[in-house]
Amino acid sequence: MTGGAVLQFEWFVDWLRGLPQWVFNIIEVIRGIIYGIYDWLWVVINLLWTLVIDNIFFLFKAVIFPGLIFVVMGLIFFVWFTRKLWGRIQMRRGPMHMGKYGGVQLFADAIKLISKEIIIPDKAHRWAYRFLPSLLLVVVLVPFAFIPWDTVWFIADLSVSLVLVFAFLAAVPVIALLAGWISGSKYSLIGGFRAANNQFAAEIPMIMSSVGPAMLAGSLSIMGIALAQSSVWFIFLLPINFATFLTASIISVGVFPFDAPVADSEIIFGWRTEFSGVYFTLTYFAEFAEQMLYSALMVTFFFGGFYGVPWLPGAVNFIIKFLIMLFVFVTVSSSFHRLRQDQIVRYCWKYLLPLSMLNVIIAMLAIVYVPGLALLLVGG
């Protein structure tokens, strides 16, 4: 009986004797883990830092100058510019009271819109309702990476960036259609269908019109097209192509003469009807960003991109022409009556499409049969 007790006791003593070692082992393991994490972090941070140091210029471009912050500040300026110009055309003053010449009006509006209550309709698909406006803005902002603001100041250049940009832009009406669909309102649905119909009508003439510059430049890269205009701008070689591209881009954005998808007197705000608060702000900005994108593309395709006044930096040249294009965009979009949806489609397919195809053919023949053209383009 005592022997059993001793046995139990001995086991306990053994256990006690082993305890410090056990605790020590645990501490060792934990220390190993911590050191491991520390070493790993050190390596990663070192690696990242080397990456940043090596790519600091690229990062600066992507985030600050021709990148995100520049584009968003430009967007804010453009909204102010549009409202001011519209006000002037309509014999009003436009934004007046917030800041000098109403300059901070947009920040006030943005704060107001963002702080508003978000009302999601009962029949809406909640997840998509929250997700789609952000997706729309991202899809519209990403192609700005391929805009060649200067020979140095550009973010990315692919050999097929033209195709990529149009691929991104083709997603916009799909998002509009989805937004109309998931809003759970008939007006939104009609607006979504109209947006899809607009793109259906305008996209083919638009892409056809961009074929001309691409052929003359011999490149599908936007940078390549801009570089090819060192001696002569394509507007002088392809004026009709510019007209078709401008018209098709206005239709594609869906601003005033062709704003059937968001016609406020017919279908309230089309596919944007049910968006409230910050979601409306995002879709609203996306439309303006799209106008800016098309203006930048037009400057690149037809107005020589960063070429212009020789002693100015390329980016300044680009931005001057960019502002002029924005002015044209806003003026055109505030001085016509709205067309009906069927009239838009008829107009596109009856006039825009044949014209742009004709231009492609003319450009092809010119490249083959006009011997001086190639030299002119190369810069000789």
């Binding site: 008939k186 005033f256 505030s334 016509f336 709205r338």
Partner: protein
């Protein structure tokens, strides 16, 4: 969504929260882009004006009518005053007659100026909306100088006027007409010659004179069909001064579709109406006689009316505006007053006019008839 969507009708409520539907609602049934059925709903503005008139005495009644259509307030108040004057046997002084006529025509011009802008806004050209509204301000200034308010002037009263013209009012009125005449050719160019405007309006909302008569349309809507139906000429009112003026009823005979009118014709017709009104005002201003603007006994006579029935009518900016008044012996208030608003019929006409139109054209058809919700809801 099933593939056979075109076989299914979609029911859409146009209003009352719609941006363009300010105080009215229409139930539309769509098949694809086409409207197959239209059911206009009234009553969102109903303020029981007829019942209210039964509780007001004869000098308090006309402001209620002005509220029905603020754009043509000088015209809208007149049927009631005319009916009271007929029953009371009041004779209006010469000066009051001429001033009344001038202000009624100014009100008509002001109403059409508003309408040009409204129709353009419904077609998405907002700059063209605000340009006529800038000129309209000059007329509003005139009203303000004359009566102290820009809307709801309460200008006429049984037996005469409440406010007299001064030199300042005349100067402002002449200024307003000068601005109008300077700018109107530009607006005509902007609208009538604009290909986009023609694309949107030509052939839209087309009806024949016969249909329009059946629906009870009047005013510019029927004059655009070529029928010179105009109360100013047809039924000369002894208390108005249209007989002092040499003028013709403006009508429109379209060469392609005589006897029919579409939205474009009605727009052209309203420009012609403005030209006629300007002509009338210009002829009347030199003819303003001196004298009192109200019969001194009119107030006492309008206090208690004898038994009678009268039908006061005026050619409003939107059509025949009339009021049927019945009084009992020694009445202080009307026994029954029935207001006939012109837009009661043009809003009803949508029911027949809209089916088979495109959805986007609905608001153009509505706008081209120039309806004002106050007139049908009362």
């Amino acid at each position: 969504m099933t593939p056979d969507i075109l076989d299914e009708t979609v029911e859409v409520w146009f209003g009352p929260q719609h941006v363009s539907a300010h105080g009215w609602a229409t139930k539309l049934k769509l098949v694809g882009d086409f409207i197959v059925e239209c059911d206009p709903h009234a009553g969102y503005f109903h303020r029981s004006a007829e019942k209210c008139l039964e509780y007001r005495n004869f000098r308090q009644g006309s402001p209620i009518l002005e509220r029905l259509c603020m754009l043509e307030a000088f015209l809208a108040e007149y049927p009631y005053i005319s009916a009271v004057e007929q029953i009371a046997g009041l004779v209006v002084p010469e000066r009051a007659k001429v001033l009344r006529t001038i202000m009624m025509e100014a009100s008509r011009i002001h109403s059409y100026q508003f309408w040009w802008g409204q129709l353009s806004a419904e077609m998405g050209f907002f700059a063209m909306t605000l340009w006529p509204w800038v000129d309209r301000e000059f007329f509003l200034d005139t009203f303000e100088e004359l009566t102290g308010v820009r809307h709801s002037p309460h200008f006429s009263t049984p037996g005469g006027l409440r406010f007299d013209f001064t030199e300042k009012v005349l100067a402002k009125l002449e200024k307003a007409i000068q601005v109008l005449e300077y700018n109107m050719p530009k607006f005509e160019d902007m609208l009538m010659k604009s290909p986009l405007f023609r694309m949107r309006t030509e052939g839209v909302g087309q009806y024949s004179a016969k249909e329009a008569l059946r629906w009870g349309l009047s005013g510019p809507n029927i004059k655009a069909c070529g029928i010179p139906m105009d109360l100013r000429k047809d039924q000369p009112d002894p208390n108005l001064a249209y007989d002092m003026v040499d003028w013709e009823v403006p009508i429109l005979e379209h060469p392609d579709h005589p006897g029919e009118s579409d939205a474009y014709d009605r727009m052209v017709q309203r420009f012609n109406e403005v030209k006629t009104s300007v002509d009338i005002i210009k002829q009347l201003i030199p003819q303003i006689p001196d004298g009192p603007i109200i019969d001194p006994k009119a107030r006492a006579k309008a206090n208690r009316l004898p038994e009678g029935e009268a039908y006061g009518r005026v050619e409003g900016a939107r059509g025949i505006t009339s009021l049927w008044l019945k009084t009992l012996e020694k009445a202080q208030t009307p026994y029954r007053a029935k207001i006939r608003g012109p837009c009661f019929h043009s809003y009803y006409a949508l029911k027949h006019l809209v089916p088979s139109a495109r959805f986007a054209d609905f608001i153009v058809i509505f706008g081209s008839l120039d309806p004002y919700p106050g007139w049908w809801d009362r």
